[in-house]
């Protein structure tokens, strides 16, 4: 029997507070989600009962801490259906994971004249590392544009692929528009030319399908803090065949096998990519977040969030002068909008006075804002603990703010 989704709100202590004398409506989940009590407790429990450095000591605490850390790895591997646990590498987050691939893959496989493809829908963290890598390697940085619906054109993508393409980096869900990109199809087209694909799953792993084997992703990266886990922990998943051939990213302790003045040999997977003492407590906390998420039926959860988004969008569509950006066939978790004649920043500040937390600005996606010809947008973003009353409060708040600003 899976957990009732409507019971989730009560599990998140932060949501119980009032902000500016109003009960909080937290709609900045694409930036970071709140944490259920079990995740918060796991951090305190780790430092109260378990703290030791892992993989090194053989005293009881070190063994238990190591087991808990490796247990978290197994949970994450299970959640994304990795073939092997050692394909799951702990990092600080999505940004570090992408930089890891950009540096190691770039060093090993990218030569002058080669091409890398990203989309125009990327967050700066899946854009800038590739742009800089192309500059370092003398490669060409190519950007697949999105259309008037906020969707990518697969036919155009297929035409961009050629014998010089070395890698495709694409998000599963856009953090600015919420577009769900057809990653399985993109991967199939790229694999037909033996080109590997990195999927930025920061906005998707907690909302939509997250089976790395079924989508056949070569690299799949995400952050713990956007999926109800702690900050400072993230995942780099890579297929074993790639992890074996990529050189290490950071070097130091843990990642080595033998060290002499003449020669250094590297540890086995996954330790080859985990130099230094990792964020053990946060990794364990992420494992607890995965357990928490898995109490829900994943299809039911997806349906719930889709319905809630549709409900919110329908309320917004009724507000005069409100513009919703993009209308992709499949959208997840994001309500991006502006009201004609009103600065997004003003809307954000006034919603905040009513206890409604949204994000305003460029959302680390300047190429998208340029394409939309706006200086920024207001973005409300959903999590499993949001409900229809939150959407009602948002719509009411927007109307109230419009009254305050348009006189």
């Amino acid at each position: 029997m899976s957990k009732d989704i409507l019971s989730a709100k009560a599990d998140f202590p932060l949501l119980k507070q009032t902000i500016n004398d109003h009960p909080l409506v937290y709609l900045d989940n694409a930036a970071t989600t709140q944490k259920p009590q079990v995740v918060i407790d796991s951090l305190v429990d780790y430092y109260s009962r378990l703290n030791a450095n892992i993989h090194r000591g053989n005293h009881s605490l070190a063994v238990q801490a190591t087991e808990a850390y490796e247990g978290a790895r197994r949970k994450v591997a299970g959640y994304i259906n990795a073939e092997y646990n050692h394909e799951v590498i702990f990092t600080r987050g999505t940004t570090e994971s992408i930089n890891l691939v950009a540096f190691t893959y770039g060093e090993k496989f990218v030569q002058p004249g080669d091409e890398i493809i990203v989309s125009q829908l990327e967050h700066h963290s899946n854009y800038v590392p590739w742009k800089l890598m192309c500059q370092r390697r003398g490669a060409t940085f190519r950007v697949l544009p999105f259309d008037e619906h906020g969707e990518l054109d697969l036919a155009l993508f297929e035409r961009m692929l050629n014998e010089k393409t070395r890698l495709v980096a694409i998000n599963h869900v856009s953090n600015s528009l919420g577009t769900v990109n057809p990653v399985a199809e993109i991967i199939r087209l790229a694999h037909a030319r033996e080109i590997p694909v990195l999927v930025d799953a920061a906005q998707s792993v907690q909302h939509v399908a997250h089976d790395v084997q079924s989508m056949d992703a070569d690299f799949y990266v995400f952050s713990g803090h956007k999926m109800y886990g702690p900050m400072g922990i993230g995942i780099f998943y890579g297929k074993e065949k790639w992890l074996e051939v990529l050189p290490p990213f950071l070097s130091g302790g843990e990642m080595i096998d033998t060290v002499t003045p003449e020669k250094v040999t590297f540890n086995v997977l996954p330790f080859k990519f985990e130099a230094g003492t990792p964020n053990v407590a946060q990794a364990i906390g992420l494992g607890v977040a995965v357990d928490y998420l898995q109490q829900f039926d994943s299809l039911e959860l997806q349906k719930y969030e889709e319905d809630l988004l549709a409900y919110g969008l329908s309320l917004l569509a009724e507000i005069p002068d409100l513009v919703i950006y993009g209308d992709p066939k499949h959208r997840s978790g994001i309500l991006p909008f502006n009201v004609n004649g009103i600065q997004h920043y003003d809307m954000g500040v006034l919603l905040d006075t009513m206890g409604i937390a949204v994000r305003t600005g460029q959302h680390c996606t300047q190429p998208i804002m340029d394409a939309l010809r706006v200086s920024g947008t207001v973005r409300a973003s959903l999590a499993l603990y949001n409900d229809r009353s939150d959407m009602d409060r948002l719509a009411y708040g927007i109307k109230r703010a419009i009254k305050m600003l348009k006189r």
């Binding site: 500016n20 004398d21 500040v349 009513m354 305003t360 460029q362 920024g376 305050m404």
Partner: protein, 139 residues
């Protein structure tokens, strides 16, 4: 013309009559709308402080030992903050601007919204006005 201290006291009294944040911001926005419009010739790029989320135009002058300035913003909230500064510091002796201790923003809790706005931050605007006041005094 009353002194900065008295204006600050009046502003503080006005705001204390308002029941909640929404009313405070409503009042602030109104103040912005009532601020004298910036002359088009002053609203030029060299007077523009481009922020991450909003832009502010700021033209400060020293006239006979007094600080005289005009300002505008594409954000009505920021413009309201700027209007408060304008009420407080415009047409005041440079010495008073330099010595002014502006506690009203902190007192009203408005500070936290604006000061994080990087270069648009109130802190930066006040610092800019004080620097101009120091120059004005040195003349």
């Amino acid at each position: 013309m009353s002194g900065i201290h008295d204006i600050q006291k009046n502003l503080s009294d006005d705001f204390s009559l308002l029941a909640n944040w929404e009313e405070k911001y409503e009042y602030l926005i109104e103040m912005g709308m009532e601020m004298p419009a910036m002359k088009p010739e002053s609203k030029v790029d060299e007077n523009l402080v481009r922020g991450c989320q909003s832009s502010v135009w700021f033209d400060v002058n020293c006239q006979d030992g007094m600080i005289v300035f005009e300002a505008d913003s594409d954000s009505l909230v920021v413009k309201g903050m700027v209007a408060m500064l304008h009420k407080l510091l415009n047409n005041q002796p440079a010495k008073d601007v330099l010595d002014a201790e502006l506690s009203v923003f902190e007192e009203l809790g408005l500070w936290r919204h604006i000061s994080s706005q990087r270069s648009n931050g109130l802190t930066a605007m006040v610092a800019h006005l004080k620097a101009e006041a120091a120059d004005c005094l040195a003349k």
